[in-house]
């Protein structure tokens, strides 16, 4: 609910809204045209949410709105007033990484890292509603997240591994040379 509206000297209206971000109510003053991704990054300093295409194609700005993945570049902040938002900063609990994050690190599913926050949140939403997905289901769930390093094979592997509780690859999965590190 919009609890207050302020009009500045140029006649531009600003709206006081409250977003529940990662469990905390955060009250911010926004213009009607403020985009959720920008408010998260610039007002709330939650810069884990990345901006890529800004047109709802790439998925790097994915957040969970009421538990569902959406592109935060395509949501007006004011439309999210009073709603629950989970950003990548809210996935780890008490500094303990989520199984998906752990698996993505251990399965080398992170290359440049730009798509990772969005990937993790799309995967998180999937595993929350479907704890044991098939590979096609994982691919479908992350199909709105583009990885321009094209590291999809390891990302899919990591999400499947997380769903099965295999948080790091066994030796048989990635035979390594002596002394080689991950």
């Amino acid at each position: 609910m919009i609890n207050r509206t302020i009009t500045d000297k140029d006649g531009v209206k600003r709206y006081l809204i409250t977003l529940n971000v990662n469990g905390d109510d955060r009250t911010v003053l926004v213009k009607g045209n403020a985009i959720l991704a920008n408010v998260l990054r610039d007002e709330l300093n939650l810069t884990g949410t990345k901006k890529g295409c800004e047109l709802g194609d790439c998925g790097s700005c994915t957040v969970l709105l009421e538990g569902k993945p959406v592109d935060s570049c395509m949501v007006l902040a004011i439309e999210a007033d009073g709603r629950e938002i989970i950003t990548i900063e809210g996935v780890a609990v008490n500094s303990k990484l989520d199984a998906i994050q752990e698996a993505m690190i251990n399965y080398a599913a992170i290359q440049c890292g730009y798509c990772t926050p969005g990937m993790v949140l799309s995967a998180k939403a999937l595993l929350t509603r479907n704890p044991h997905p098939t590979e096609p289901e994982v691919r479908e769930a992350i199909s709105g997240n583009l990885c321009r390093c094209t590291g999809y094979v390891h990302i899919v592997e990591a999400v499947l591994a997380a769903s099965e509780g295999r948080l790091s690859p066994g030796e048989h999965e990635y035979p390594r040379e002596e002394g080689e590190s991950i």
Partner: protein
């Protein structure tokens, strides 16, 4: 990306919204999910001074069946809402399947059925199938309500019969006599791709005879287009492969595709021929609406 300044309104009821639309004047726009609207605003295609959000109207997010009227889908139901609706899965399985082909998961959580219609893109995924199923839309203004056949409602690229002070609130799919329907979309990728062409059909089959058939083609005309000659070829005929081929040839001849970045006119016409044949066969064989 640049977004123009505007004043934001979030009325509690449809009636309140209609009054606002009337009062606020020409440069006012209705916001559903925003997946099309924000795109247009960011690109500078529209610069509204007022945005009227429908977000408080929870009843527009519902799907229900009314005896004698049909299945009613609220304008704010998302494609994901269509996909996961037990009611739609039971009654019109092809519609959840079509909704699942749209955009990508994020867009399917944000876009709306009403927006997909009002945006009136020639390549929108839901209108062809909805038209094949004979759907209509309920449009509300302050002084009244009207129900318009969806086929008539969409009248050009980005154009519908909706007036400035009206709001599309419901899509109504009548109870079907059709025995089968389907929508086949041809996009260049599995996800995040717009239709190069799309074909929706609804068929009524009795004892191996096509009693009735409706064929609607997407992305090959300014609006979702009925292939009426092809429908006439099929009507009352015994189903054979040759008959379906003949109808598909007719549909390809009827459509009016253009060449753009997603495909040439020639290619689209050929794909209409292929997909019409496949869609008819699929709707006949699978036997679910």
């Amino acid at each position: 990306m640049y977004m123009p300044d505007f004043e934001y309104h979030a009325p509690k009821t449809v009636a309140e919204a209609c009054v606002l639309l009337d009062e606020l004047g020409e440069k006012t726009i209705v916001l559903g999910g925003g997946s099309d609207l924000l795109h247009k605003m960011k690109n500078g295609h529209i610069t509204p001074e007022h945005v009227v959000s429908l977000k408080h109207m929870a009843h527009l997010r519902e799907i229900h069946h009314e005896e004698g009227r049909g299945t009613v889908i609220g304008a704010l139901v998302t494609p994901n809402g269509v996909y996961t609706s037990p009611l739609l899965q039971e009654r019109y399985l092809s519609l959840p399947m079509a909704a699942h082909e749209m955009g990508n998961p994020q867009v399917r959580n944000r876009g709306t059925v009403g927006g997909n219609i009002c945006n009136a893109s020639p390549l929108a995924d839901l209108p062809p199938l909805l038209i094949a199923l004979n759907a209509s839309v309920k449009v509300v203004e302050y002084a009244g309500v009207r129900v318009v056949a969806l086929e008539d409602f969409i009248c050009g690229p980005g154009k519908t019969l909706i007036q400035r002070d009206e709001i599309l609130t419901e899509v109504i799919i009548p109870d079907q006599t059709a025995t089968g329907s389907t929508y086949i979309k041809f996009g260049l990728r599995k996800s995040g791709a717009l239709a190069v062409v799309g074909v929706a059909v609804a068929v009524t089959v009795k004892d191996g005879v096509l009693v009735d058939a409706r064929i609607v083609m997407g992305a090959v005309a300014p609006v979702p287009m009925r292939a009426k000659d092809a429908e006439a070829i099929l009507k009352g005929q015994v189903i054979t492969d040759a008959l379906l081929e003949q109808a598909a040839d007719s549909a390809a001849a009827e459509c009016k595709p253009i060449t753009d970045l997603r495909g040439s006119a020639e290619y689209r016409r050929e794909m209409i021929r292929v997909l019409t044949r496949r869609a008819l066969r699929k709707a006949i064989d699978e036997g679910h609406v």
